[in-house]
């Protein structure tokens, strides 16, 4: 049975949108607890009240973003059935164990976030610190499990037969598929990088507005340092990922780089428009693409022409631009990291110029753009396959109709949800600055005040 192309488009749009939304919250859920613990550690180790203040504020931001992320994550679990029933119906048994493992990590993360938040009030300082450690570890474990599923979709293995009903599964081969070694570190580093620059950028904006107190300086320095350490590592990991993709998923790589014909001495294009007859416009660097793939201009790069048009990813120019944008932003962020490093080396402090603060203020949004661009590269680049070379996305989609309606609903809901989240975080930060001490608890927090019975007026 053929699905109308429009339903497939709606399903892909909804999945792309909900995942693109969730990936931001998931990144914060993975990395923000680590920033919180670094501040907490510094606060306790050096008796630094400002650092403890930051740890406490960040723990509330963790709670809000985690709670919203749990909602968007639940939606995704529904979408495995609502949008892609044939995919999950055939392969749920193959990749499902990874989600079962992820479930444990998620559950533990939720529990320990709540314990940590309660712990501010009820635990000894160092005991409290240690209850935060499982939050960081489970965040990493959860990221591993989920990204390993995506890796498996790119490099499927560990099941047989490859056509028809699956009758045997090797869970270990599924979990440790060939794409795991580069996809998982790439995503975890991305989470730390995005979160670090994002948090630092918020404090940079504050400093540009004249709030130069120590809390702001520390609030900028801790996340920025983490992000600046992660960025160069990310560049190396991403580079090796691209080379692995050139080898394992050559068509995906050809689409990323707009390589039309298989040949050696392939030109690298920075931006430009992809057409069947080659790249129009953009900056051309002869031979570089071959060098990047195999360290030599004589390296052969597989072109899109090696497979029929039906097997090539769509939206080639967008894919190429997304890839170049991700790499370009990462390069610029390395520049920021060097700027910080040189400043620190010379003056034991971050550069005190407005231009440095401006660059940091922009870095958060830039890192987010890079995150989304990278996600577009891996997801659109895998098309037209949902399971690479095994199952087409068009064969996985639901036969139910009405997906445009659910997509429109989800779009509207998420816009409101995103706005509510941002407004809430802004309101929290205003209250902190105002230091009026009024409750800004957020989810998981103990309720203030006595139980209602004690405040009761005479009933009736």
């Amino acid at each position: 049975m053929l699905t109308a192309a429009s339903d497939l488009t709606a399903a892909r749009s909804q999945m792309g949108f909900t995942l693109g939304f969730h990936i931001i919250l998931a990144s914060l859920g993975v990395a923000l607890p680590a920033l919180m613990l670094i501040a907490n550690y510094r606060g306790l180790r050096h008796d630094d009240m400002d650092a403890l203040t930051l740890a406490q504020r960040w723990s509330k931001a963790v709670a809000v973003t985690f709670a919203v992320g749990a909602v968007t994550g639940t939606v995704l679990s529904f979408e495995f059935g609502l949008l892609w029933p044939a995919f999950t119906g055939r392969f749920g048994q193959v990749f499902g164990v990874l989600f079962a493992i992820e479930g444990i990590f998620f559950f533990l993360e939720a529990i320990f976030i709540a314990i940590y938040i309660f712990g501010w009030k009820y635990l000894k300082p160092w005991t409290h610190f240690w209850t935060g450690v499982p939050v960081v570890i489970t965040g990493l474990g959860g990221a591993f499990s989920v990204v390993a599923v995506n890796s498996w979709m790119n490099q499927p293995q560990g099941f047989s037969p490859t056509t028809g009903k699956v009758t045997s599964v090797d869970p270990v081969k599924v979990i440790f598929n060939p794409a795991v070694p580069y996809e998982v570190p790439h995503m975890i580093l991305a989470a730390y990088l995005v979160t670090g620059f994002l948090v630092a950028s918020i404090y940079a904006v504050g400093m540009l507005r004249g709030r130069r107190d120590r809390v702001h300086r520390l609030g900028l320095l801790i996340p920025l340092t983490v992000a600046c350490i992660a960025t160069p590592i990310q560049f190396v990991v991403g580079d090796s990922a691209a080379r692995a993709i050139a080898k394992n998923q050559p068509i995906k790589f050809a689409a990323m780089e707009c390589v039309q014909k298989t040949s050696t001495d392939v030109t690298e294009y920075i931006y430009g428009r992809c057409t069947p007859s080659g790249v129009k416009g953009g900056i051309a660097i002869p031979g570089l693409d071959s060098i990047l793939v195999g360290w030599s201009t004589s390296t052969q790069v597989t072109g899109l022409d090696s497979v029929p048009p039906d097997d090539r990813p769509p939206a080639n120019t967008m894919l190429h631009w997304a890839f170049d944008t991700m790499v370009g932003i990462c390069t610029l962020l390395i520049g920021l990291a060097l700027w910080l490093g040189i400043g620190w080396w010379r003056k034991k402090d971050f550069p005190q110029t407005r231009w440095f603060l401006r660059a940091t203020a922009v870095s958060g949004v830039a890192a987010l753009v890079a995150l989304e661009a990278g996600w577009i590269v891996t997801e659109v680049g895998r098309q037209p396959w949902i399971v690479y070379n095994i199952m087409r996305t068009s064969d996985a989609v639901t036969q139910a109709s009405g997906i445009w309606i659910t997509f429109a609903t989800v779009l509207a809901l998420y816009v409101v949800l995103g706005a509510a989240l941002i407004l809430t975080l802004l309101a929290m930060s205003r209250r902190w600055r105002g230091a009026d001490g009024e409750g800004d608890g957020g989810p998981y927090s103990p309720d203030e005040g006595p139980p209602p019975g004690l405040t009761a007026e005479a009933p009736g």
Binding site: R90, A110, V169, L417, G439, D440, D447, L454
Partner: protein
């Protein structure tokens, strides 16, 4: 017991946990909505907010747990249910999004209108999700979900008297569970008027749920003969147990003895869910797909069971620790001084605010 049946049992544990804890959560939302506006509804709502506390996420993780076990252990059943029942499951998911957002922002919505919106969303969610989950159960029980990608009727599969009755029954049961739980919470909060308030609501919702269950049996008899026949034979002990627990709760609430009422109410709901499971056995989708036919390869089933055991060993103690801390928060009204930063805003830092 084959490993397929063991995984089915794990799935049923997840369903039960979600029905009890998620159900109580949604029921609380319904009472919050029905409490009415202004001063009249303020105190019951305060009790509800106070009682739900930090355990919301734990309640709803059971749903994800059940979904993942279903698609991992019985992929083809998952495909059939989620494609044919696209409409009610989308609406149930909508309720979950609304409820989850309400939870995320409940403490931070400080303005009055924000509170009103939050209560309305929470209330809407508490009707949407249990109701449409109930219609899904009705569709499955009646054998209206054939194997395959959306091969059943997208509308009549769940829009029929049986499904609608079970949907309503789910809403009533959630309300009943929540009311019984809130009676205990009111007592812990030392609010005798609220104790009576929720005891009355528990009685009313119990009667409504009982009536809907009776209607549901009639509908099952004409519409889902396989499940009805088993329900009135093999599953009879569980149905009797459920009824006995339910009546015991009613008697306890009337006589004012509250101890154990919670546990009995949970028992009543649990017995019905397992009764349903027994009535469907050996089918996942009655007369369409058996547990064994839907089951994943044995390596996968073993892996699921191992992961489940690890979850029990690791998660339960952590959850216990959280509940201990949460209870401490509920019994302590005054805060102890701490060495944490002073002057920081309240909420989780409520104690700290009072220090600074």
């Amino acid at each position: 017991m084959s490993s397929a049946v063991a995984v089915a049992a794990v799935l049923w544990i997840g369903v039960t946990m979600y029905a009890v804890f998620g159900g109580a959560d949604f029921g609380a939302g319904l009472w919050s909505l029905l409490a009415g506006g202004g001063e009249r509804g303020r105190r019951p709502r305060e009790l509800i907010d106070w009682a739900i506390g930090p355990v919301w996420e734990a309640n709803h993780v059971w749903l994800i747990f059940a979904i993942v076990v279903l698609w991992t252990g019985f992929s083809s059943a998952f495909e059939a249910v989620f494609s044919t029942l696209f409409i009610p499951l989308s609406l149930a998911a909508l309720g979950i999004v609304l409820r989850g957002s309400g939870f995320a922002f409940q403490h931070t919505a400080r303005r009055a209108w924000g509170r009103v919106v939050a209560v309305a969303l929470f209330g809407l969610a508490s009707v949407l999700t249990p109701f449409f989950m109930g219609t899904v159960v009705g569709a499955v029980a009646a054998g209206r979900v054939p194997v395959g990608n959306a091969t059943g009727d997208p509308v009549t599969s769940w829009l029929n008297p049986l499904s609608l009755t079970i949907g309503a029954l789910f809403v009533a049961t959630s309300a009943y569970l929540a009311a019984v739980f809130l009676v205990s919470d009111a007592r812990r909060a030392d609010a005798p008027d609220l104790e009576r308030y929720f005891a009355n609501r528990a009685l009313v919702s119990a009667v409504v749920a009982g009536a809907l269950a009776a209607v549901g049996l009639v509908a099952l008899r004409s519409d889902a003969r396989y499940v009805f026949d088993r329900l009135t034979s093999d599953a009879v002990p569980l149905i009797v147990l459920s009824g006995a627990c339910g009546i015991a709760v009613l008697i306890m609430l009337r006589r004012g003895g509250r101890r154990g009422a919670r546990l009995l109410a949970v028992g009543a709901v649990t017995a019905v869910i397992w009764g349903w499971g027994v009535a469907q056995y050996p089918y996942l989708l009655p007369e369409k797909l058996t547990i064994d036919d839907a089951a994943a390869p044995s390596e996968v089933l073993t892996a699921v069971l191992i992961v489940f055991l690890i979850a029990v060993v690791v998660v339960l103690p952590s959850l216990g620790l959280l509940f201990v801390l949460a209870q401490r928060n509920l019994v302590e009204e005054t805060s102890r001084p701490t060495s944490h930063p002073p002057g920081e805003g309240g909420g989780s830092a409520g104690a700290l605010g009072s220090v600074g």
